[in-house]
């Protein structure tokens, strides 16, 4: 029956996208949070608390994926920071792991050997870089060069204006 074309199945398709990304320290301090699905502040806090605990409790050699509620968590630790993404059950874990890595590379290149402090003191930059790379939970631009070009252009824009202002 061709009824399907008349009746859109609004509720029934799955989204296959990243649900959220969290950066937190070994002490459990949240350093960056990006939510790609609408949730209340209360829910966000609850999720963060539970997830940070779960991930911190895992041992170093364990696998980078875990099932959590009905989501899949993909995480990786870089020095003192944990990068943690929630994806849907059907989504690709390995490519998500490399999303994390590419983001780390971007931060590293921008700040020059990035450390946790850079992200604390320049949290707004960390957000801007993330927005250039991922939008709405999907990869927008995977080329490192192009992302950094966009960010540097913006920096240039503000420096020029800044200088003009200070004169």
């Amino acid at each position: 029956m061709s009824l399907t074309t008349h009746f859109p199945l609004c509720f029934l398709f799955s989204l296959f996208q990243m649900q959220f990304m969290l950066l937190f320290s070994r002490q459990g301090k949240l350093r960056l949070q990006k939510w790609y699905v609408p949730l209340s502040d209360k829910e966000k806090k609850k999720i963060t608390r539970e997830l940070v605990q779960t991930v911190l409790a895992r041992k170093p050699k364990m696998c980078s994926f875990l099932e959590w509620r009905d989501l899949k968590i993909v995480y990786k630790r870089y020095a003192s920071l944990y990068f943690c993404c929630a994806i849907e059950d059907q989504d690709n874990e390995l490519i998500t792991l490399e999303i994390i890595h590419r983001y780390v590379e971007l931060l590293d290149k921008y700040f020059g050997s990035v450390c946790e402090l850079d992200i604390i003191f320049n949290f707004e930059k960390a957000y801007f870089i993330l927005d250039e790379f991922l939008l709405g939970g999907e990869a927008q631009e995977t080329s490192k060069k192009n992302v950094l070009k966009a960010i540097e252009q913006a920096d240039l824009l503000q420096e020029v204006r800044h200088r003009m202002k200070s004169k």
Partner: protein
């Protein structure tokens, strides 16, 4: 402070952040924050106009405070002001604040939208991107309303910069997800599909996410994307690692794009065009081949990216499930990964193989890896990997390897992690039952389960073993012997005592011939466990004892002595005391014949789907079990365990039936305590009375009537209803004729009242029956008006309301008899009180008999009491609705019908009907304003059932599609049946 601070650092912000970091305690931090908040508030409120820089700095501080986890309730206006700044950084911070702290104040939204509109039309690509990012981050319906028509234009315009196109594509995707009704692709469709051919890889990467989502929903309109995707994929797969320059990631060409292309193809069946299909198969083969090549880099990023593509390709191969060659190759590849040194790969291989196990082409290939998987279960250090291994063993299990797999899972249970034990127990129990060739193996397995992991053996599991033993006489002797042996262990789990008590009570006689397990030895063994057990188990044991008295008269004196002792007969627990008293009396008063009747062996249980399976499904969600389950049915054909004839439908039905009464009532009724109100002593005397009155002729009826000994008698509806009818007959006036069968149009009459409560139920030349009813919660009151249309008196006018079959346990209808005389032209009234105990499908019957001029009139109608009468409307937001809709996603929870319109499709008529149904009609939930969405909760005594409804009219085709999702599947089906007649 970091050495590098790019852009223009905000000194004040850095100082503030340092201060916070230097705080020694949480209190100090809060104090510092409050000080800062007060400062910012005064700056914002102050008379002096702030310059852009200060505004930016303070807004940024607020943002930082918010991200620390504190609530921020001001600063939105200042952030909005920043949006219209012509300084990039100020604008950027403004947008960031808005994205993170979304606010639903409508005045603010208007201002924000204005600022976005300006930036979108600025033709400055950096500003445009900022605005698009903001829309994508917020993604609210208001934004969709304002920009959904604008963005597609930006996306496909020839002069749009690539970076803006990328943002526009993903921005549109976000809006489409929140408000699909507002994003109309229509004319843009083909140009959007052709973005797959774009020269700029970044544009393709962004656009393909949008196209995938649109294809999932409108596969027909977007199907041209298949061939484009295949050729794009083919170009990437065959390119050298340097061809794609910066889109090559650790020597892997465009891994993200490749994965997305493979994912897009999973929205469609295999391509029909032979050439396209050939090219795709070639790609898949190349990907599989590359997995065998030596790595181009030792970096983990290289292998991750490469394998990400490989796993996505395997998903596509499994999705097609039509290329045996590829399926087997995929399986072999995963087999290699099972032994890989990377934990991640082992995890993914186990997971992926689980789906391969359900394909008929690769099931056998998967089975060859059994030893590796068992080894993984034993040696993996990460519990999530072991869990995957257990899942895979469960999925690959069939008759040929069941014994091995069950044995391995059992031995793993001894050391298994607590978090997965219960699930493991369920799985072992299911496999043991499903693939049992001989039932002694099954009994051994379950008893082993109890021995090894007794704490995790849920009621369902031990109920089930008893059901099976009761139903199969070939295993009863063995079961008795085995439990007897198991009980000899000095410490055995309470669940073992339960099973032992039950089985010896029923079948202890089968092993009593052996002097080592003589009746007295059996009794002493059971009783030695008694004092260590909980109340429900003790209650069960008491029942086993009275059964012993029947089975072995020689134990009577010993057991009576036990029952008589103070710790039983004066036990502080009412249930135990009552049992002790009653059993003692029963054993001393009743003759052996009566005892033998009352304490007869349990009749076989009706064959039903294992409740364990239902439990596992509940635990794991629909996907995990049902796939393999269906597959098994397909592969195995006839099941051994009476399951050969069970399809998934009957399974669902059986599961719902089984869950209606409480599980304990199902089997033993331990917890559904006997009448609580009556003090035990009086019950005892009542019993004596009953016995002396009724005499030994009808003992079982008398016992049943009292609800006494319910745990020993299987609850049978027939005996109950017999009693009810018997007493009813003697009370009421005696028209001897049987009630007439329901009128042929009874169903039609019933349907008239689904969406209304008042009206004329029935009318002929003699009689008119009017009806008025009202419902609250799970209670209802119905007024019936019987009007005599003739001028002649109706004599012997009687009405009887009955609940046929299952309905009598679901609905309680009470009424008083009516006057037997109805004068000509007169009307009499009858009131029915209705209580809904649990959900139901049938309607109560109303039988009316009277004499009109000597002739007996006898008619039966269905009373319009339908499950929807007990609805309570539930108002909810669109978000809540969607969330609940998603939660009710198990296939059985949904019922759907597509049917031709039988009545007017006028909006007002439909609305009135839906309101009459009792649900809340929700506005602004369904993205399509033509559709109707309702929500309500059905109130029954035993539970509440949440129901969501969606009705999609198609005026052109004069058809409807009706979808129901309820927390209980029987309700979905019943409502769907009822409602399909209404429109």
């Amino acid at each position: 402070m970091p050495a590098v601070s790019k852009g223009d650092g905000m000194r004040g912000l850095a100082v503030f952040i340092s201060d916070i970091r230097n705080c020694k305690s949480k209190e100090a931090e809060i104090k510092r924050i409050n000080k800062e908040l007060a400062n910012i508030r005064s700056k914002f409120k102050g008379d002096k106009a702030l310059d852009g820089y200060s505004k930016k700095k303070y807004v940024c501080k607020l943002l930082f405070i918010f991200l620390l986890g504190h609530d921020i309730d001001f600063g939105h206006m200042e952030a909005v002001n920043l949006l219209s700044s012509n300084k990039y950084t100020e604008k950027q911070i403004g947008y960031l604040f808005i994205s993170v702290l979304v606010n639903s104040n409508s005045e603010l939204i208007r201002l924000i939208n204005n600022a976005i509109k300006n930036d979108l039309s600025s033709r400055n690509p950096t500003f445009m991107c900022l605005a698009l990012h903001c829309i994508a981050n917020v993604g609210s319906r208001e934004m969709a309303e304002a920009f959904a028509s604008e963005i597609p234009r930006i996306l496909v315009a020839g002069d749009t910069m690539d970076s803006v196109k990328q943002s526009a594509a993903l921005c549109l995707l976000r809006l489409y997800k929140t408000s699909p009704d507002l994003v109309l692709m229509g004319e843009w469709t083909s140009r959007v599909v052709h973005l797959l051919n774009d020269q700029h890889m970044g544009v393709v990467t962004a656009a393909i996410s949008l196209i995938t989502c649109l294809s999932q929903k409108n596969p027909d309109e977007f199907k041209t994307c298949v061939s484009l995707a295949v050729s794009r994929l083919s170009r990437i797969v065959s390119s050298a690692s340097t061809d794609l320059q910066d889109y090559t990631y650790y020597f892997v060409p465009a891994p993200w794009l490749s994965c997305k292309l493979l994912r897009l193809l999973q929205c469609y069946p295999p391509p029909e065009d032979g050439a396209v299909k050939g090219r795709l198969v070639e790609c898949l083969e190349t990907i599989l081949n590359k997995a065998q090549e030596p790595p181009k880099s030792k970096k983990v990023q290289h292998s991750n990216a490469k394998n990400a593509i490989l796993f996505e390709a395997i998903s596509l191969i499994i999705h097609y499930d039509s290329e045996p060659n590829l399926l087997v190759r995929a399986c072999n590849q995963l087999g290699q990964f099972l032994q890989h040194r990377e934990t991640n790969l082992r995890y993914l291989a186990l997971e992926s193989m689980c789906t391969l196990a359900s394909s008929e082409f690769s099931h056998e290939a998967v089975k060859t890896h059994i030893e590796t998987v068992i080894n993984a279960l034993k040696t993996e250090r990460d519990v999530s990997v072991r869990q995957r291994a257990a899942d895979l063993l469960y999925a690959m299990c069939d008759r040929s390897n069941a014994k091995q797999i069950v044995a391995e899972m059992l031995s793993y249970l001894e050391t298994a992690d607590y978090s997965i034990r219960e699930e493991m127990v369920l799985k072992v129990a299911i496999l043991a039952e499903k693939y049992a060739v001989d039932y002694s193996w099954y009994v051994d397995t379950i008893l082993n389960l109890i021995r090894i992991a007794g704490d995790y053996v849920s009621e369902e599991v031990w109920y089930r073993v008893i059901q099976i033993v009761i139903n199969r006489d070939d295993v009863q002797g063995y079961a008795a012997k085995t439990v007897f042996e198991a009980l000899q262990a000095p410490a055995c789990h309470e669940n073992m005592v339960k099973v032992g008590g039950y089985i010896l009570g029923e079948f202890g006689n089968l092993i009593a011939g052996d002097p080592r397990s003589s009746p007295l030895v059996q009794f002493n063994l059971l009783h030695s466990k008694f004092h260590l057990c909980s109340v429900p188990t003790r209650a069960l044991l008491l029942s086993a004892y009275i059964k012993f008295i029947n089975l072995f008269p020689e134990t009577k004196a010993t057991i009576q002595e036990v029952l008589r002792c103070d710790s039983q007969i004066r036990n502080s627990d009412v249930e135990l005391q009552q049992r002790a008293v009653e059993y003692l009396k029963l054993s001393s008063i009743a003759s052996t014949d009566v005892l033998a009747t009352v304490l007869e062996e349990m009749p076989p249980f009706p064959e039903r789907e294992s409740s364990i399976l239902a439990k596992l499904k509940k635990k794991k969600g629909p996907g995990a079990v049902s796939v393999t389950e269906l597959e098994d049915n397909k592969r195995e054909g006839g099941e051994l365990n009476g399951g050969g004839d069970r399809g998934p439908d009957t399974a669902a039905m059986a599961a719902s039936n089984a869950s209606t009464p409480s599980p304990s009532a199902d089997l033993l009724g331990i917890r559904s305590a006997a009448p609580v109100g009556a003090p035990p002593a009086s019950t005892g005397s009542l019993l004596v009375d009953v016995f002396s009155e009724a005499g030994p002729a009808a003992p079982s009826a008398a016992v049943n009537d009292d609800g006494f000994l319910r745990d020993l008698e299987q609850p049978t509806e027939t005996s109950d209803s017999l009693l009810v009818e018997g007493s009813g007959d003697s009370d009421s006036a005696p028209p001897s004729e049987d009630p007439a069968p329901p009128l042929s149009e009874a169903d039609e009459l019933l349907n008239k009242f689904v969406c209304k409560n008042n009206g004329v139920l029935f009318e002929n030349q003699l009689l008119q029956i009017g009806i008025k009813s009202e419902y609250r919660q799970n209670l209802g009151r119905m007024y019936l008006f019987y009007g005599n249309k003739t001028s002649v008196q109706f004599a012997s006018f009687t009405t009887t309301v009955s609940c046929p079959g299952d309905l009598q346990s679901q609905l309680n209808v009470q009424t008083k008899p009516v006057e037997p005389l109805v004068e000509g032209g007169a009307q009499i009234q009858q009131v029915l009180n209705i209580e809904c105990l649990t959900d139901f499908s049938d309607a109560p019957l109303l039988n009316i008999k009277f004499r009109y001029g000597g002739a007996l009139q006898n008619l039966t109608l269905k009373l319009p009491v339908t499950i929807n009468k007990f609805f309570q409307p539930t108002e909810m937001s669109s978000h809540d609705f969607f969330q609940r809709w998603k939660q009710l996603s198990q296939p059985q929870q949904e019922a759907q019908k597509i049917f031709k319109a039988n009545h007017s499709m006028d909006t007002e008529v439909l609305k009135a009907k839906l309101l009459g149904l009792g649900t809340a009609l929700l506005d602004n939930v369904d993205p399509n304003p033509e559709n109707y969405v309702c929500a309500g909760v059905i109130q029954t005594k035993s539970q509440q059932v949440g129901c969501l409804l969606r009705l999609e009219p198609n005026a052109q085709a004069q058809m409807y599609r009706l979808t129901l999702r309820c927390s209980k599947d029987s309700v979905s089906r019943r409502l769907c049946e009822l409602l399909a007649q209404q429109f």
